[in-house]
Amino acid sequence: MTSDQTPLLSVRDLKVSFTLDEGLVRAVDGTSFDVMPGQVLGVVGESGCGKSVTMRAILQLVERPGRITGGEIRFRRRDGGEPVDLARLSPRGAEMRDIRGGEIALIPQEPMAAFSPVHTVGDQIVEAIQLHSHRWEAGGRKLSRRDARDITVGLFRDVGISMPEQRVDAFSWQLSGGLRQRAMIAMALSCKPSLLIADEPTTAIDVTTQAQVLALLRDLQAKYNTAIIFITHDLGVIAQMASYVVVMYLGRVMEEGPVDEIFHAPKHPYTKALLRSIPSLYGETRVALPVISGALPHPFNRPPGCPFHPRCPDVMERCSAAVPSLQPVAPNQLASCFLYHDQADAG
């Protein structure tokens, strides 16, 4: 990234492993990327690429038998000062709890699971707002229930929920999928986060509803200038939402760069092949699509060297022997591929 801004979040060589009976699964294996303040970063990849695990690591929500085994997650807190390394914080400690939900919020894929079915949606948001009162009230005074409820109604209006005064008293199961996801976004915004992680927020909803939610996120981002990490497997959603894109495969970053370069001048063979293999709304129909041959390797069975080399059309002898590191390959672009440089990662 050429910008001279300091990143809000900086992930460096992050490693997360899962110790299972069958062996060690290196779900994230040396991932690095930066998130600038106010930027929408798109993270794209297929199942098993480690995109969700990376996000869980940022929030310190990796569950046993998973463990962060290396790397740094430097996050610049709102109070200024030196960035904190989230990877070193205790998952249950006060500081991590304050950051999680307070400064970094998550929009999950399935909002049904994120809301408790026995409390109204409004009550749950009111509680979150009261917990983070200092973000709304300069004096640090705890907000009253009534004030917090007013804020909630305002948030509901912001996220485009009609009849917000009535809807705050609804239970999550009374709302449709689209409304539930809007309520989830309101919940995420309730603590005025500086970073929002959206983990496949539209995968479980229909295409017309998805369009509504994407438009909403875009509007909110413009209004509050919140940084967003947007995780998805859908290249269309990435193209429409992100300004900067990170492409992941088997726990490593294959390529990253501004969205236009990734879609119009991809460098890594994986990115190129992925873009070619999706049917578009404009291409020729009923003809064979160019495919990426082979299957995604089983996580216990990681190929040595570059993880993509067994499926790569441009594979060279070196690719199976060493792991290419992420290096600049164009003015704004980085790629992990020996076609462009010969820097290998140690280990």
């Binding site: 009976d21 082979g294 299957a295 390797p297 089983h298 069975n301």
Partner: protein, 370 residues
Amino acid sequence: MTTAIAGKEAEDRVAVASNWRLVWWRFRRHHLAMASAGLLIFLYLIVLVPDFFSTQNPEQTDARQAFIPVQMVHLFDDGGVSPWVPAIVGKRHPVTLRMEWTVDPKKKVRVRFFAPGYSYRVLGMFETNLHLVVPADPSMRIFLLGSDRLGRDQWSRIMHGTQTSMTVGLVAVILSVVLGVVLGGLSGYVGGKTDQVIQRVIELLQSVPTIPIWLALSAALPRDWTPTQVFFAITVILSLVGWTTLGREVRGRFLALREEDFVLAARLAGCSRMRIILRHMVPTFTSHIIATSSLAIPVMIINETSLSFLGLGIRPPAISWGVLLQEAQNIQTLALAPWLLTPGLVVIVSVLAFNLVGDGLRDAADPYSN
């Protein structure tokens, strides 16, 4: 358009592993369950040939040898292998004039392993007189766990009680599994009115307190039935009350499986109803049924023991753990002969073993869960 799978040997082994093999691999990792399974196998060996493990006929009485204490087996003597048990000496109490027995480790009674003793029939098929351990002098009697008030050998009686109690548990569970699978399966697969009726019956059976039911049913047994008849009647009574939980579970499984894609696929392939049930649905939950049943056996054993303890189940001269514990009902006897409580210990150990095996099986039963 060929898709290659990395052909590793270990992977191939998993690839062709059937469901049962996957269950076994997972069960094997469960050390406590494996040890318990070993113990249960040993207990069922006793069930097969209790006489082999006995030192004497469990019915042999001798009022003069009442309340003889435990005679422990010692393997070594004079630096060599020469098994013996300490002898017992009796003294009449000067005040109560009762015989009081103590062990005298200085006097040794030689014993032999795998040696001939009294003769018995193995599973009613052939006759033998081979025993695990008997006194070297056939005219002697040894009491590995002491004797009761009639001078019967507690050890040999526990061996025979094991046969009865473990069999009752197993047979009762098998009967309830059959009832539960058939009725639960009918309920889940046919649905509608059948389902309603069976569900109401289950609710009725579950709402009645079990102890009074048993009491009523066993009280209704004719007093002149032979111990064998009573034994089977008790088994049937236990399973009639015990099938309901399993029936519910099987019904639930059927309901869930009916919606599975592979069951629909089988229907669309033209499979008959019978084939869908037997080939696609039942195998999917057999492992669960086995796990559930192994957790149900200890409940049956406890039930039988309680009934017999209350004098309403198996009746002497038949021997079961419950019948043996009846002997320990009297506080006075207990103070005098604490070894009469050993059947209780056996009950605890076997019930624990069944529960551990059942838990292990339940965890291993679904290799596709993750």
